[in-house]
């Protein structure tokens, strides 16, 4: 079926050459003229009142141009409108070790650092709240009194579907366990950085290492209290994000304010330790989960009680609170389902969105319980999972619309390729094989800021010389989104990839895109880009028809939605801002090799000739494409959480060796079936899956942010252990794709979904190897060894 020239073929990133030669410019690589250097003073207390700040000596230091404190910022901010609880600089109180308290701009970085040492802050330390249990206790002095809770609760979500009690009664096996997860962090290689350029009229151009230029733009205008049009945010090359750069940050507000008060350009960058202070990583989680299973009925009920540690501020926490529960609605049907999730404030760096947002820790619990239930029921854990995976075009109990599902075939193939049947339960002691599955959203269907605009918009221009430019607000954070947008434009317009330039993530030049989070870019910006390109193609076809004296083609009217599962359909529907998956462009023309050929008559014209003909009237060729998710979901409270136009599905089969003397776990091999819909760029899909494995394995075996008196104790790459190349196994990727009617060319997502199942797959393999189950991460050697000793003592 695939007659594509470019999409579906492995393509290196379009800027890879700049990256291998050192030409790619990241935020801190930009050199602005006459630039001041900024530095931030951070709190040494987890919890304290600020009685006074004396900045006089710092300001008096020659070369210091400005000093800011909390008094310089009236408004708080936050990525979610419902929790704008974060100040740019602490006011009255500090809530975590490392919180920004004051900031300096000076002529050199060394002077700025010297000035910080001259700022005297008079703190009155107060008792910090350091864990969730403590946070649950009633207090007169919560971290955020504005919420009017009598303890440190931030957000509580409870949902119930079906009748869990009845479901458990139908089960033949029921397991209930407590699980515990520490915090883990993104550990991207490029520390946060920002540079602000100010012009003579006081307009700001903010270069920032961000995944969400649009949100930063809005937050800057609000916090600085200036008109939105005076701000422009540009994301240069970005050295990894994984969710850790998907909020507006205090340092962006600080640098911009410093530029405004000094009238000078300002540069600010984080140390690696600053990155750990700023955190926004995965929430530490205590959870209890109960799973009922019956061999004939599948999962009969699933309930969970989650207590997540949000740290000092809100960030994406409200979304996390929902995602902990709702993302358990796949990859298997759960007819009776209830959960409660409580997010607590504590005096630690805040948690937020991290790859696999909210779904990772609960997935570990559910897939371990699932394994226990299947083993107990005497079923093959792999085959049984295959049998249970969602069927296509179904609704979950909480009314998620499940469309394409390619995992059944994929996991069957993975089972074959990994020799599962010859290995499972049959390997010698110390060797084991395990499996786990997961599912994830391809972009959240609802925007963070309620509005009626499209979720993504792309503008496309075609110049007299044939150069195609894609203008997209989407932020390429290293995942290769610019490349995939260019590929789609090139495919539709029949031009070489090199002919397409992507101008992205510049809030002055590019249409609004909400940002790179929740795996939304390929799906949403991708649909918009394809849509824009098809419109451009129609302009060229019309011109070609004039040149070739052919009648203009009649485009098929959009097919009516077949049923509630297919709201898009395959044909372009401009009124609904939606273009179907497979570009049956249906114009009767072929675009290739610089020619446009009419298939019926064989007549053809040059591509450039058509461009010239088309451009005659308007003088410029420009089209716009949108993507707007269809209306989805139920009408109950919280129904919007986790809604996505499509879901990805993943399974990992993992083989491990466990050293019985040391408890060390070595992952020998992994086999992955990931249903990303149509793989637009197989090279990028592979890269995402391998990267997910690395991050999942890190969380499984070694990663943990350690706190001590609230301070991050391992704030660097030596003591925060991300796996080295020696730990990473070979990963066999088996075909598991599907054709997603609503995705661009049939695509879904690959950037986040593959992470979650990695962790339980390793745990389940450890069980196969040495017969122990662990319920606390990371699965450190000492824990594995202790569990083995306990098991043999029994």
């Amino acid at each position: 079926m695939n007659a594509y020239r470019i999409v579906g073929t492995p393509q290196p990133q379009i800027d890879a050459r700049d990256k291998v030669t050192g030409r790619a410019r990241y935020t801190d690589d930009i050199r602005l003229p006459n630039c001041l250097h900024a530095a931030i003073l951070r709190s040494p207390h987890a919890s304290a009142r600020i009685r006074a700040i004396d900045t006089a000596r710092a300001i008096a230091l020659p070369g210091v141009r400005a000093v800011l404190t909390g008094a310089d910022f009236e408004r708080t901010f936050g990525v979610l409108p419902i929790s704008k609880d974060e100040p740019a600089l602490a006011r009255e109180r500090v809530r975590y070790v490392g919180e920004p308290v004051a900031a300096v701009a000076a002529e050199t970085a060394a002077l700025a650092a010297a000035a910080l040492a001259l700022i005297a802050v008079d703190y009155l330390p107060t008792t910090p709240v350091l864990d969730v249990r403590q946070a649950l206790r009633p207090t007169d002095d919560p971290l955020h009194p504005e919420l009017s809770h009598d303890n440190n609760l931030h957000k509580q979500v409870e949902q119930c579907f079906g009748d869990p009690e009845a479901g458990f009664a139908q089960a033949s096996v029921v397991f209930e366990k407590r699980f515990s997860f520490p915090s883990v962090t993104h550990a991207f290689t490029e520390p946060h950085a920002v540079q602000v350029e100010i012009d003579g009229r006081g307009n700001l151009t903010v270069y920032s290492a961000t995944q969400v230029p649009h949100y930063v733009h809005l937050a800057l205008a609000q916090v600085l209290d200036i008109d939105e049009h005076r701000v422009r945010v540009i994301k240069p090359h970005l050295g990894g994000g994984f969710g850790g750069k998907s909020d507006p940050f205090p340092h962006e507000m600080i640098a911009a304010r410093l530029a405004l008060v000094t009238g000078r350009n300002v540069r600010l960058r984080f140390s690696r330790e600053d990155v750990f202070f700023s955190h926004h990583g995965r929430h530490p989680t205590q959870l209890t989960m109960k799973l009922g299973f019956h061999p004939g009925r599948g999962i009969t009920a699933l309930t969970g009680d989650f207590l997540i540690d949000g740290g000092a501020y809100g960030s994406f926490g409200v979304v996390t609170t929902y995602y902990n529960g709702v993302l358990l609605q796949g990859p298997y049907p759960v007819p009776n389902f209830a959960f409660r999730c409580r997010r607590m404030y504590t005096n630690k760096p805040m948690c937020g969105a991290m790859r696999g947002h909210g779904g990772v820790n609960p997935r570990f619990a559910s897939e371990v319980l699932m394994d226990m239930a299947l083993v107990q029921s005497g079923l093959d854990p792999c085959q049984a999972r295959i049998d249970l995976i969602h069927r296509e075009n179904t609704l979950t109990i909480n009314e998620f619309r499940i469309t394409s599902v390619g995992l059944k075939r994929g996991l069957e193939e993975a089972m074959r390729r990994s020799d599962w049947r010859d290995k499972y339960g049959k390997l010698p002691y110390g060797k084991g094989i395990g499996v786990a599955c997961g599912f994830f959203i391809s972009g959240s269907a609802l925007p963070i800021h309620r509005n009626r605009r499209p979720a993504s918009t792309v503008r496309l221009t075609l110049e007299f010389d044939g150069a195609v430019t894609v203008y997209s607000g989407a932020a390429d954070i290293g995942q290769g989104s610019d490349t995939v947008l260019a590929m789609m434009a090139a495919e539709v317009l029949g031009v070489d990839l090199g002919q397409v330039k992507v101008v992205a993530a510049d809030t002055r030049l590019t249409p609004v895109d909400l940002g790179s989070y929740s795996s939304r870019v390929t799906f949403m910006a991708g649909n918009a880009a394809r849509n824009a390109a098809i419109r451009m193609r129609r302009l060229l076809v019309a011109a070609a028809c004039r040149l070739l004296e052919l009648p203009a083609p009649e485009y098929r009217a959009p097919a009516p939605p077949e049923d509630r599962f297919r709201q898009g359909g395959r044909s372009p529907d401009f009124d609904a801002d939606f273009l179907g998956a497979n570009p049956d462009y249906d114009d009767g023309f072929e675009f290739a090799d610089g020619r446009i050929r009419h298939l019926g008559s064989g007549r053809e014209t040059g591509f450039l000739a058509a461009v010239h003909a088309a451009i005659e009237g308007p003088g410029v060729l420009q089209t716009v494409g949108n993507y707007r998710p269809p209306k989805l979901g139920g009408s109950f409270k919280g129904a919007g959480a986790g809604l996505s136009p499509a879901y990805s599905f993943t399974a990992f089969i993992v083989e491990v060796s466990v050293d019985p003397d040391t408890g060390f776990v070595k992952v020998d091999k992994a086999t992955c079936a990931h249903d990303c819909g149509f793989a637009l760029n197989p090279l990028a899909v592979r890269g995402q899956i391998e990267g997910c494995f690395h991050m999942g394995m890190g969380q499984a075996l070694m990663e943990e942010v350690l706190h001590d008196n609230g301070a991050v104790q391992n704030a660097g790459f030596l003591e925060y252990k991300i796996p080295s190349p020696f730990e990473q196994p070979e990963i066999d990727l088996v075909p598991s794709t599907s054709d997603e009617s609503e995705g661009p060319f049939g695509a879904k997502e690959a950037g986040e979904g593959p992470l979650a199942p990695v962790i339980p797959a390793i745990a389940n393999a450890i069980f196969d190897a040495v017969g122990v189950r662990l319920f606390e991460l990371p699965l450190r050697p000492d824990r594995v060894l202790a569990a083995m000793r306990k098991a043999t003592a029994r």
């Binding site: 951070r42 040494p44 020659p62 070369g63 070790v97 490392g98 002529e107 050199t108 060394a110 002077l111 650092a113 010297a114 140390s271 330790e273 003397d661 040391t662 075996l701 070694m702 001590d708 008196n709 609230g710 301070a711 991050v712 104790q713 391992n714 704030a715 790459f717 030596l718 003591e719 252990k721 796996p723 080295s724 190349p725 020696f726 730990e727 450190r780 050697p781 000492d782 060894l785």
Partner: protein, 335 residues
């Protein structure tokens, strides 16, 4: 506008004589300086403000500290500036002292090993999760002894200047192997030259870690011929790259004239304030297993562990036995 003063002054003497003359003058003036070889241990500490020398004296221009000499009798002289990468990759040295080369090859990362020196590795500072931190993070606890403060977060009862002393742990990867090889240090100071067996070099104190005087330079490491001594070195780390040893075990076996096990020797790193070193002569034991048992017992008994590292203290302690026995297996001794 005045630029703030540089963190340190820098100089680079071009010969040993010049270096020693400088040291004599500087230490007469009270001497707030640090010698820098590869500086891979020094620079991170300076950047974090753990060390604040007013002056850095580079050893990299001193030719007398460089180079490896092999002698006819199988003994060797390794200049203190021998880079770990060169040591690890030296094919001839690998024939004589394979474990030393292997241990050098397990330090840090490849580009660090290109710069890091063997001398610096023997002198690498002791570590603790409370000291290897930024000033901000050090202050969270009240600054510890080693950072010039009055508290030890590990041993709450400790009083500065009295026992138990600072418990920052010894971490050199090459020291245990060099101890088993009976290495002798060649030291030069304004007072002259002395030869000191490595076994007499380290002290049981996380702060005053060794007996090197502040104006004394480690010039070279003298190694006798390996002479049938076979050594196995392995380190406990969660990753196979970058990490300091949470525990390092060097086990040596020497056959007696009859070809059976004559002597067992053992040295540890990563676990206490200094590298323990023990020797067990076959004559005193029934068999090899008894020697191994004795080695395990001695090591276990001497090791005090604290919660100052990735691995929990009791696990690190438990692994001593396991590592010794695995080393013995690899060396083909006993069980």
């Amino acid at each position: 506008m005045n630029a703030p003063p540089a963190r340190f002054a820098f100089e680079r003497p071009a010969s040993l004589a010049e270096l020693v003359a400088r040291l004599a003058r500087l230490s007469a003036d009270g001497g707030d300086y640090a010698l820098a070889a590869g500086a891979t241990d020094l620079m991170p500490q300076i950047k974090r403000g753990v060390k604040t020398p007013a002056r850095l004296i580079s050893l990299n221009g001193v030719p007398e500290l460089a180079g490896v000499q092999a002698r006819a009798d199988g003994s060797h002289r390794l200049g203190a500036l021998t880079r770990l990468a060169d040591l690890a990759g030296d094919a001839r040295l690998r024939q004589h002292y394979p474990a030393l080369c292997a241990a050098a090859g397990r330090v840090a990362s490849p580009p660090i090993r290109q710069r890091a020196s063997l001398g610096g590795n023997l002198l690498v500072d002791n570590r603790c999760i409370h000291i290897n931190q930024s000033a901000l993070n050090r202050a969270v606890h009240g600054t510890c002894f080693k950072a010039g403060g009055e508290t030890c977060p590990l041993v709450k009862s400790a009083v500065r200047g009295r026992l138990p002393q600072c418990q920052a742990r010894f971490v050199s990867d090459t020291a245990p192997v060099l101890l088993l090889l009976d290495a002798v240090l060649q030291l030069v100071s304004p007072r002259g030259e002395r030869q000191l067996p490595l076994s007499q070099f380290y002290r049981d104190d996380g702060m005053q870690r060794h007996v090197l005087a502040s104006d004394e330079v480690l010039v070279a490491i003298e190694l006798p011929a390996a002479d049938g001594l076979r050594i196995d070195y392995d380190k406990l780390t969660i990753r196979r790259a970058l990490d300091f040893p949470s525990l390092g075990v060097a086990l040596g076996v020497r056959a007696d004239s009859g070809g059976t096990l004559g002597e067992l020797s053992l040295a540890l790193t990563g676990i206490g304030t200094h590298p323990g070193c023990w020797r067990f002569a076959a004559a005193a034991y029934d068999n090899a297993n008894a020697m191994l048992d004795a080695a395990c017992a001695a090591a276990r008994e001497s090791a005090t562990t604290y919660q100052q590292d990735f691995f929990p203290r009791d696990y690190r302690k438990r692994m001593i036995d396991v590592f010794i026995r695995k080393a013995a297996q690899r060396l083909g001794v006993a069980r």
